[in-house]
């Protein structure tokens, strides 16, 4: 019993540690004062000032478009890769392949960032593409590291799926491709939603890799926030941060619901 109390205390302290800084930030985004440490009543003025800032709106638009395109690319790539890893037997280069799929999960961002940038520069010298850095290069970079994260979600789901359904389809005369589209893909729907949402938030969030791979005209939201934050704490950044956190919280809940829903229906 004593031990349970100990674990309970640890848990609540741990969760408090994870949440209190964010809750303080959210609270102060509604502060009427422009001093960041004095509470002067409830106000939405910082949210209004966000809407009047064309720089922020443009960066937000860039970030959203990049996140949508790279999350879609990453989900498709990760889906194919997961089928290869989970359903295909051993093949030559399998270890290298699985290694390549999971290494980006832990690679420090500065290394991924500089190596992708130098690749783009080298490619431009060699084949003239990509002609300049910006939207395309950031999307390619984000799709690459998001693929690794999406693959973790998809592989876990694919492993838990009963492969006998695919075999049944094959026995009934389906081609492998048809069995994939008619049987596997529909069952993977929720996991794919969840993988897409994870990739989307990762891309929306990334500062380091985007800073390395972008060009002069594609400032993303994290880059803009970082340049503001370097100068210190400011209430309009609090408001922007609150919006992003609420958005991400919504995406996580949606994703967890998507991943859990069908499994519970089965039981």
């Amino acid at each position: 019993m004593q031990r349970n109390l100990f674990l309970k205390t640890c848990f609540f302290l741990g969760v408090a540690f994870l949440y209190i800084p964010i809750l303080v930030l959210i609270t102060f985004s509604f502060n009427a004062s422009d001093k960041v440490n004095v509470w002067a009543g409830f106000s939405l003025r910082w949210y209004r000032s966000l809407l009047d800032d064309p720089q922020i709106l443009e960066a937000a638009q860039n970030s959203f478009v990049i996140a949508i395109v790279s999350a879609t690319l990453a989900t498709v790539l990760a889906m194919i890769a997961s089928v290869v890893i989970v359903r295909f037997g051993p093949f030559r280069g399998r270890t290298l392949f699985t290694g390549m799929m999971s290494a980006p999960l832990i690679m420090p961002e500065v290394i991924t960032g500089i190596s992708l940038l130098l690749l783009f520069v080298a490619m431009q010298q060699l084949i003239g593409w990509p002609a300049n850095r910006g939207f395309t290069t950031v999307v390619l970079a984000h799709a690459t590291f998001c693929t690794a994260f999406a693959a973790v979600v998809l592989q876990a789901r694919l492993r838990s799926l009963d492969s006998s359904l695919e075999e049944a389809a094959a026995d009934l005369g389906s081609t492998p491709l048809r069995a994939f589209f008619k049987v596997t893909l529909p069952m993977m729907g929720p996991a794919m939603t969840s993988a897409w949402l994870l990739s989307f938030t990762l891309s929306l969030d990334d500062l380091v890799i985007a800073s390395f791979t972008t060009g002069p005209n594609s400032t993303t939201l994290p880059m803009l926030i970082f340049s503001k934050v370097r100068l210190g704490v400011s209430p309009d950044v609090n408001a922007l941060a609150t919006l992003i956190i609420v958005g991400i919280g919504f995406a996580v809940t949606l994703s967890v619901a998507a991943a859990r829903g069908p499994r519970e229906n089965q039981e």
Binding site: F11, P21, L77, P108, I111, S115, L116, L204, I225
Partner: protein, 287 residues
């Protein structure tokens, strides 16, 4: 055919870039676009290929104390951050895994939300707390613990707080996934045979969670070594970490070859931890 696409993609955008970085780490910085010399040259009158490897960048890293300090500093900070995450994360993960199945998804969700949330914003939220006139100093001053508040920003303390805060979920989630799968009957058997709870923990629970501990530790240790955002927003400029050094070489000094050499050395340092991670990853996937 189609199955080759992800392989080609990851090869092109993940594997080949390292070769490019390696190549550029051997070149020299010049004022041009791109700002480095080519190491391969075709000399047409002698019709031969000349490859000149410039080891100067590595020698520079070797000789300048700043880089040494940054690498050692990064390893130290990463090691203690990982240890703290493990010490805090284990009981938290254990609590979730042992709670009733009805509550588990909600408690799990409480850890996943910060795992997904913006790193930049989470670090930023601490800037407001640790400032000289921030919330923590106000509270301490109000209680009377601190008369002369000092800014806690730009200290190692702030960097540790930032690291543990940011990477704690990365430790808890893999720990939880191994702890949740453990068979309760093993612990019951040990208890029935007369083991006290602490011994059951030491002899049954802990050995069975080794894979989770390794995976979680590597998920924290490896990215924290190269972390850029946390040391640059919360850390002091005289207590550098290697991620920030690389960034400054690249963006402030525009010395791409030295930045590449920094990256290659960092990658070499990380090779063994990365292999440990891959190994534990394969084990948990097959198992």
């Amino acid at each position: 055919m189609v199955i080759g696409i992800p392989m080609l993609w990851m090869g092109l955008f993940f594997l080949i870039p390292f070769a490019v970085v390696l190549k550029i780490s051997f070149s020299e910085a010049i004022f041009a676009s791109p700002p480095y010399t080519s190491i391969v040259e075709y000399i047409s009158d002698e019709s031969r290929l000349s490859i000149s490897l410039n080891l100067g960048n590595y020698q520079y890293l070797w000789e300048d104390e700043l880089y040494w300090r940054a690498y050692v500093n990064s390893l130290t900070i990463a090691f203690f951050s990982t240890l703290m995450c493990l010490l805090i994360g284990f009981p938290v993960a254990l609590f979730i895994a042992r709670s009733s199945p009805r509550w588990r998804p909600l408690l799990h969700l409480l850890i996943i939300i910060p795992f997904w949330s913006s790193l930049l914003i989470r670090v930023y939220s601490w800037m407001g707390l640790l400032r000289k006139d921030g919330i923590i100093n106000s509270v301490l001053g109000y209680v009377g613990l601190v008369q002369d508040p000092q800014s806690m920003l730009q200290t190692s303390f702030a960097v540790y707080i930032g690291m543990v805060y940011t990477y704690l979920p990365f430790m808890i989630l893999p720990l939880y996934s191994v702890l949740e799968r453990q068979d309760a009957s093993l612990r019951e058997a040990a208890t029935d045979l007369g083991s006290p709870p602490l011994r059951v923990f030491r002899k049954v629970t802990l050995p069975l969670s080794v894979n989770g501990i390794i995976a979680g530790s590597m998920l924290v240790f490896i990215p924290t070594i190269g972390e850029f955002v946390i040391p640059s927003l919360l850390g002091a400029s005289d207590n550098l970490m290697i991620g920030r050094v690389l960034w400054d070489e690249f963006f402030a000094n525009r010395d791409w070859p030295v930045a590449s050499a920094v990256a290659i050395v960092l990658l070499a340092v990380l090779l063994i931890p990365i292999m440990i991670f891959q190994n534990s990853q394969n084990k948990s996937m097959e198992g």
